[in-house]
């Protein structure tokens, strides 16, 4: 860990059951009933459940019928994105009174760089306590993780959830991470974990003492090194106040499941492609620079698959090719959702030229 990065103070502020909290503000009676935002329709999925509903096992991304089975009295509330966005803006306004070093990671999560913060004698803990008190007055509660880097701040924000905070000082990062199961480290997906488990790696501690070249053989050169560094608490990513759009995508849940690829192709042509083009600013396809294109299918058992191809410009015909490639993975399961998107090239990437070392 370099001097510079271990001197930082980085927090992740995560609004607790955010959509549910906003709904309670709109309809206070909801506070005493288990309810879920989303999932009410025939094919909907729960976006957020309040803590009463979570006691029954209702979770985000759970299909509505399953949630209802777990909690028969569950109330379903229609999502109201406009009011969530408005509240998220209000939260940002409060944060901006403390620092402008804020990176919204999503509608309800914010990275905050408090390194230069002067409030409360520069104490990040006290500043976060104050911020959370202000939010509570606004009617939403938040949990926070505080450390000198983003990954640990994010993991720590889950420790005292809801409405609590947790600090991991720089010199305790290694020990803190050591006892966590590997799945808590972002980036170690289910496939990698299977491979790591098979090789005897279960806790972060196992990685910390491992030979990085072994991890590289297991996961690939890049991912292996990245996991090794993450487990040793290396994460130099800055809090990015100006956010570049990294990808543009659209997806839609179908009114009825598709069993034929013909239906999917028609849907692509008539709905998704026009909607993607609109989202990308209405430019002609040949004028849209990209790094790659992706297509996603979600099946009626809620498993999903994605296929991607490298491309310099967005090509509509490539989406048909990706669809043909992804479709057989359905293995006769009907398709309930289709999404398409493309990743944007980083304008400054690859400007530094490489020495011909090899």
């Amino acid at each position: 860990m370099s001097e510079h990065t271990s001197n930082r103070k980085i927090a992740l502020l995560d609004l607790d059951a955010f959509f549910a909290a906003v709904e309670v503000l709109k309809e206070p009676k909801l506070a005493h009933r288990p309810f879920a935002v989303g999932g009410g329709g025939e094919r909907g999925v729960v976006a957020t459940a309040n803590y009463l509903a979570r006691k029954f096992g209702v979770r985000s991304a759970m299909p509505g019928h399953q949630a209802r089975r777990l909690c028969p009295d569950l109330v379903f509330v229609k999502p109201d994105m406009a009011s969530y966005k408005a509240m998220s803006k209000q939260v940002q306004t409060i944060l901006l009174r403390y620092t402008d070093r804020i990176e919204p990671a999503s509608i309800d999560e914010f990275y905050i760089d408090l390194t230069e913060n002067k409030s409360y004698q520069g104490s990040a803990s006290l500043t976060l306590e104050a911020i959370r008190a202000e939010l509570r007055e606004l009617g939403v509660s938040a949990s926070a993780g505080i450390s000198c880097q983003k990954m640990v701040a994010k993991i720590a924000s889950e420790e005292h959830k809801p409405d609590g905070q947790f600090v991991v000082p720089p010199d305790q990062i290694i020990q803190y991470l050591a006892n966590l199961p590997l799945k808590r480290i972002p980036g170690a997906g289910p496939k990698s974990q299977e491979r790591l488990n098979a090789a005897g790696f279960r806790l972060v501690r196992d990685i910390q003492t491992a030979d990085p070249t072994k991890l590289q053989r297991l996961l690939g050169e890049h991912s292996g090194m990245l996991l090794f560094q993450r487990c040793l608490g290396v994460d130099d990513r800055p809090v990015q106040t100006t956010r570049l759009r990294k990808q543009i995508s659209v997806e839609e849940t179908l009114h009825r499941d598709f069993k034929q690829i013909k239906d999917a192709e028609r849907f692509l042509e008539n709905t998704l492609l026009p909607s993607l083009q609109k989202r990308a600013g209405g430019h002609r396809w040949q004028d849209l620079h990209a790094k790659g294109q992706t297509l996603k299918l979600k099946f009626n058992d809620f498993n999903q698959t994605t296929v991607s191809k490298v491309s310099n410009r967005v090509s509509p015909s490539l989406y048909y090719q990706l669809l043909t490639e992804a479709w057989p993975r359905a293995k006769s399961r009907p398709v309930r959702l289709i999404g398409i998107g493309f990743t944007l090239p980083d304008p400054d990437e690859n400007r530094q030229l490489e020495l011909a070392l090899e």
Partner: protein
């Protein structure tokens, strides 16, 4: 085990040895320092299993024994004692008592027998040189080492011995630094080893600037540097270092000679308004003038004009300004020479009066 030593004699060696102590704490005993005492000597060892540092100090009338104690706590205690104080150590069972005038500390200890040793190894080449020369050789290149690169063999410094020359090379894939020194020995066999980053930084901390002799030993998997009473041993990085000779550009015909300090100051100022992440500056050459410009995403701009010796045609090239600054800080002469060929090919930067070091910097696309 029992001994007395003056605080001032203990502090420096303890500081050096603590540098090697494991900071990640993956194995409890690695945060300890090993203390071994004979009747007339004290030997302290710190290690993280990759780098080992040993220092020896003379003692009088000590009671022999060996033990390990927490390194950082002991260092903090010794550092904060008053200058000139005498420090008494007394070890029993699982405790070590440290006394100095009216202070008394009881530290927990772990058995010395659990302290890990670096495996036995054999030296193949031995070099004698002045410690200042070795330090200078490393300081000229260390900043170009990669940091946490997936090409792990770049996360260190290449030491190359050949006949009567010792060279160090470091590269992160964007720039390369090369420095050489002539030895008083000759006919040494050709050998290359890669010393890991941590070893390089600990060695730089321990070496002084003077002519005191050091001996350098290279083995199959280890390097050892011995000064008067300190011994530094590091494991080597496995892997093949890229052939630096292939990277040195040939035939650059645009030659710029500039005042090193003026160019360095211009870079410092221009860098203020360069993109924080990519650090690009544009270097525009015209006869006898260089103009550096930098822009950031907020559309702010810096422009620096500088008189230089240049007689070629007008030409523009981009660089990461940090790479230029690093080189301009490492060079000590009054003038630097830049040899360029085209905006997509590497540039050579060197001291105009000294060919002991050479720097290759890849440009950035403008």
């Amino acid at each position: 085990m029992k001994f007395t030593i003056s605080r001032d004699a203990l502090l420096k060696p303890l500081q050096v040895v603590s540098g090697a102590v494991e900071r990640r704490n993956t194995l409890p005993i690695l945060s300890n320092v090993l203390i071994q005492v004979t009747e007339d000597s004290l030997r302290m060892t710190g290690t993280d299993l990759e780098v080992e540092l040993v220092s020896e100090i003379e003692l009088e009338g000590a009671t022999p024994g060996e033990v390990t104690v927490p390194a950082k706590k002991l260092l903090d205690i010794v550092r904060s004692l008053t200058e000139g104080a005498d420090v008494k150590f007394d070890a029993s069972e699982d405790k070590v008592v440290v006394r100095a005038s009216r202070s008394r500390f009881t530290l927990s200890s772990l058995p010395a027998s659990d302290f890990p040793n670096i495996d036995e190894w054999e030296s193949e080449i031995q070099i004698q040189m002045a410690q200042g020369d070795l330090k200078d050789l490393m300081e000229k290149t260390h900043f170009s080492m990669a940091n946490q690169d997936v090409r792990y063999y770049l996360n260190g410094m290449l030491f190359e011995v050949n006949d009567d020359v010792l060279r160090t090379v470091a590269t992160d894939g964007h720039r390369l630094a090369l420095s050489a020194v002539s030895l008083e020995q000759s006919a040494l066999p050709h050998k290359q080893v890669i010393v890991p980053r941590k070893g390089v930084s600990e060695l730089l901390r321990l070496l002084g600037d003077d002519d005191a002799p050091v001996s350098l030993s290279l083995g199959q998997n280890h390097i050892r540097v011995t000064t008067g009473n300190m011994t530094f041993t590091s494991k080597l990085l496995d892997g093949r270092f890229p052939d630096y000779r292939r990277v040195l550009p040939q035939g650059g015909d645009r030659i710029v000679v500039a005042d090193r300090d003026l160019l360095r100051q211009s870079c410092v100022r221009a860098s203020i308004l360069s993109n924080e992440k990519f650090r690009g500056v544009r270097m525009a050459l015209s006869p006898n003038e260089v103009v550096l410009t930098a822009n950031n995403p907020e559309q702010e701009q810096a422009e620096e004009r500088l008189e230089v010796d240049y007689s070629g045609e007008s030409f523009e090239i981009g660089f990461n300004v940090t790479y230029l600054q690093d080189v301009l800080n490492a060079i000590q002469g009054e003038q630097v020479k830049l040899t360029l060929s085209d905006p997509n090919s590497s540039a050579i930067v060197e001291d105009n009066a000294d060919d002991g070091a050479l720097y290759v910097v890849m440009p950035m696309r403008l």
